[in-house]
């Protein structure tokens, strides 16, 4: 019976350690507040001071609007929004890798608790065996 209990504890500890693998893999990288690929990086041109308009990429919106070749100084009469951006704005930067790091920490703490419990059980059982209790 003791062996059964100890075996179950060992298996549980092993399972938890295996489960921490993916979490630690995510947390191994240095957390970055700015997703490198998903979020567009803020442009250096953004400032509160008006500046001469730089040329911006010429593009159309799914063929529904004519492409603009230069930055307009004011909205033309035809289109109030002179250049329609593509896609959806990415205005939410989560903690990303920091999140997985926090999750990994929690899992790691749980695994450590299981290991400590298993180790304590092993010591107690060994002592009881040694004393013949």
């Amino acid at each position: 019976m003791r062996r059964t209990v100890l075996t179950a504890l060992a298996l549980a500890g092993t399972a938890v350690l295996l489960g921490t693998g993916p979490a630690f893999a995510g947390g191994a990288t240095t957390p970055s507040p700015v997703p490198s690929a998903a979020a567009p990086t803020p442009g250096p041109a953004e400032s509160a001071v008006p500046s001469p308009a730089p040329a911006e990429p010429t593009r159309g919106q799914s063929g529904s609007r004519p492409a603009k070749s230069a930055e307009p100084t004011r909205a033309p009469a035809g289109d109030q929004v002179s250049v329609v951006p593509s896609g959806a704005p990415d205005t939410g930067v989560t903690e990303g890798s920091s999140d997985s790091g926090a999750g990994g920490t929690a899992v790691g703490a749980g695994a450590a608790a299981v290991l400590a419990l298993g180790g304590g059980t092993f010591v107690v059982v060994r002592r009881r065996r040694a004393t013949g209790a």
Binding site: E46, Q80, V81, V83, V84, P89, D90, G96, V124
Partner: protein
């Protein structure tokens, strides 16, 4: 080892396992998607004035949304090389940004202002509570020339980012309107699944004070 001890060890082991495995699931909170119905609320409300007169062009320098405690400087945003709209920089002092290819607030057309819902390790963004707005809530855009354009919320929508309603947001309108945009909904890896879009219409204006331009 007694039967009681065995049960105690087994229970403790199971509890530890549950604690360990539960650690990952506490972050993202689900949020509504689809159109949110405006609900009545008393403070900070204005009624959109029919036919409020458009204002002269002047870039916004400040945005105030009293109902959700927003009072932020406004920077200018253009386009990224991939054609998407730029967003404000991820900093501790998060600010809103006006899309400079849209009309200025108070001009006829949809003026577009964007802000973050969260800014990574810095926590909440300036538009963290945008989804809490309701029809009639007041928004004030203060302009560079000293004037202020006052808007009333007409709708708040939460839409999947994969189906962003570009026509509704950027399409021509025949009166001065405002769009406030941020992200929302469930977190997906390093971002969000949805966009929260507040639609508002001009309800009033303050003229520039003498001496200001």
């Amino acid at each position: 080892m007694t039967a009681f001890s065995r049960r105690a060890f087994t229970t403790a082991a199971l509890a530890s396992l549950l604690t360990a495995c539960g650690g990952q699931g506490t972050k993202g909170t689900a949020s509504d998607s689809g159109t949110s119905a405006p609900q009545p609320r008393s403070p900070h409300r204005t009624v959109p004035a029919a036919g409020a007169r458009p204002l002269a062009r002047s870039v916004p320098v400040r945005l105030q949304v009293p109902a959700i405690g927003v009072d932020t400087p406004v920077i200018r945003l253009g386009l990224a090389p991939d054609g998407t709209v730029r967003v404000p920089p991820v900093t501790a002092d998060d600010r809103a940004g006006w899309y400079r290819h849209s009309p200025t607030p108070g001009q006829t057309g949809p003026s577009v202002i964007l802000g973050h819902v969260t800014v990574g390790k810095y926590g909440d963004g300036v538009f963290r509570r945008l989804a809490e707005l309701h029809r009639g809530d007041r928004i004030v855009a203060r302009l560079e020339n000293g004037a202020a354009a006052e808007f009333a919320v007409t709708a708040v929508r939460t839409v999947p980012r994969t189906r962003f309603p570009a026509d509704d947001v950027y399409g021509n309108v025949d009166r001065p309107e405002l769009r406030l945009i941020t992200c929302g909904g469930a977190r997906t890896g390093d971002g969000y699944a949805d966009n929260v879009i507040v639609f508002a219409a001009l309800s009033g204006a303050e003229s520039p004070t003498p001496g200001e331009r």
